[in-house]
């Protein structure tokens, strides 16, 4: 199937990825090619099949509700692009 040009722009927006206008056509061709491959699944009747949730059919493990992590804030913020007073800095979001 082929995507509409505006669909490619919408997907890029949802994925929060900047795509230059002159890249959209090539990207559309590539994404449509991949979707064409994927759509071969439609041949298979899966109406009575339970979707696989986990390869080993395992339930999610639970643990006691106690604090186990130590504070690593300084170590983790050492690799952040911009921090101040223990906070991550981003462009202003509230005027």
């Amino acid at each position: 199937m082929d995507l509409e040009p505006e669909e490619v722009e919408k997907i890029a927006h949802l994925a929060r990825i900047a795509v230059a206008a002159d890249e959209l056509d090539a990207l559309n061709t590539e994404l449509s090619g991949i979707l064409g491959l994927v759509e071969r699944m439609a041949e298979l009747d899966t109406s009575d099949i339970v979707p696989m949730a986990h390869p080993l059919d395992m339930p999610q493990r639970l643990r006691p509700d106690v604090v186990t992590e130590e504070n690593h804030r300084d170590a983790y913020q050492a690799v952040a692009p911009a921090t101040a007073n223990g906070l991550y800095l981003v462009p202003r979001v509230i005027e």
Binding site: R16, L31, R40, P81, P91
Partner: protein, 487 residues
Amino acid sequence: MMSDLHLKSIAELSAGLQAGDFSSVELTQHFLDRIERFDGELNALVTLTKDQALAQAEAADARIRSGNAGPLTGIPILHKDIFCTEGVKTSCGSRMLDNFISPYDATVVTRLKDAGVVMLGKTNMDEFAMGSSNETSFYGPVKNPWDTERVPGGSSGGSAAGVAARLGVAATGTDTGGSIRQPAALCGITGLKPTYGRVSRYGMIAFASSLDQAGPMTRSAEDAAYLLAAMAGFDERDSTSVDRPVDDYVGQLNQPLEGLRVGIVKEFFGEGLNAGMSASMQTAVDELKKLGVETVEVSLPHSHYSVPAYYVVAPAECSSNLSRFDGVRFGHRCDDPQDLEDLYKRSRGEGFGAEVKRRIMIGTYALSAGYYDAYYLKAQQVRQVIAGDFRKAFESVDVLLGPASPETAFRIGEKSDDPVSMYLSDIYTIAVNLAGLPAMSLPAPLVDGLPAGLQLIGNYFEEGRLLALAHQLQQITDWHQQTPSGY
């Protein structure tokens, strides 16, 4: 004798270290010298950790002298650059993480450190493990040591090329759709993807969390057994880690195999398989029969749906996992963002390469409102059908067999412009990940001078049996000792 240390097995090296024939510092320096000599051309490593390696080797020598060394103490290996390594750049092959110095170690790294291994460096890989040729790396393609105009496979291409060229005794890799087995096949080494949940994913940068598994890439099944024994085991930091004892992989290598039933997967020998590859597999099957195993033909009738299902499940999970790369907490941040949305979009647009962006967008589309049932839900149903094929096959056989890759190493650039043709490189490996099964690739006879990989697939948690079968085959054949000339 010191000049051929790179040709020795882990067991031989360990015995030599214990006996004092050579030290870990000498062994480590031997591999550092080889990296310096050969890696300029191969590009298998993105980071060389020379000083740390020599310090770890000194510590290993002290541990050996003190009498509490294990079989891996002092053995120099390479880590795929997907594993977080404290204080060392962990790039995942991406511009996004080119500036990322990990603040902690992955569990796989910690376990191997505890066993006393020496880390020589971090290996090149397809960006975020998305690729089958190592061409999507921000750091440029890795060359296959068998023919430097060809790809090593991917995504663990640097690990495979590094082991094939003997730049390290062994390497770690990860396999989401074939990323250990396909490069192992194309580079002529042994690679094992364990059962989903057998090896901790903690600190292993996530691509598709329901498929990702770490495993060893080595010169032999015996070496793989030593590595897997150290890597495997329960980890409370990975919520899908399986709490189940680890088998004695090394101790089980010589388990009796007479009467073992090996199923030849019919669909893996159909059209699309190169004729030379088919002959190579047949020779391997003939040798296997000498071990007293029985072979029968089996069918995985829905295996041709595995690539389509995978290219929904993996991108969907990747679009979610890679949303963490936002230019805020770590990784690449664009210059002078105008607002928060601009920060996200340009940081991600600049930080990710083309293949990663494609997969994130396919996943985003598949998960978006109105498309979930047609794509993600459908793919999880197809996945159940594919797992059912394996369940049925394992009712009548113990191990499944086929090629790991439809062809030998292709030329650099040959498939890089056509994503769909690249995706079909993993046609024989992907079903295993969808079902969560263990599988390995081991060297079969060369095809036109290039390596071919024999794939063995086991039932859940039967890594020990796969390793035993591979090991015993390697005792009566020498395909795993084939080395690329010049290295």
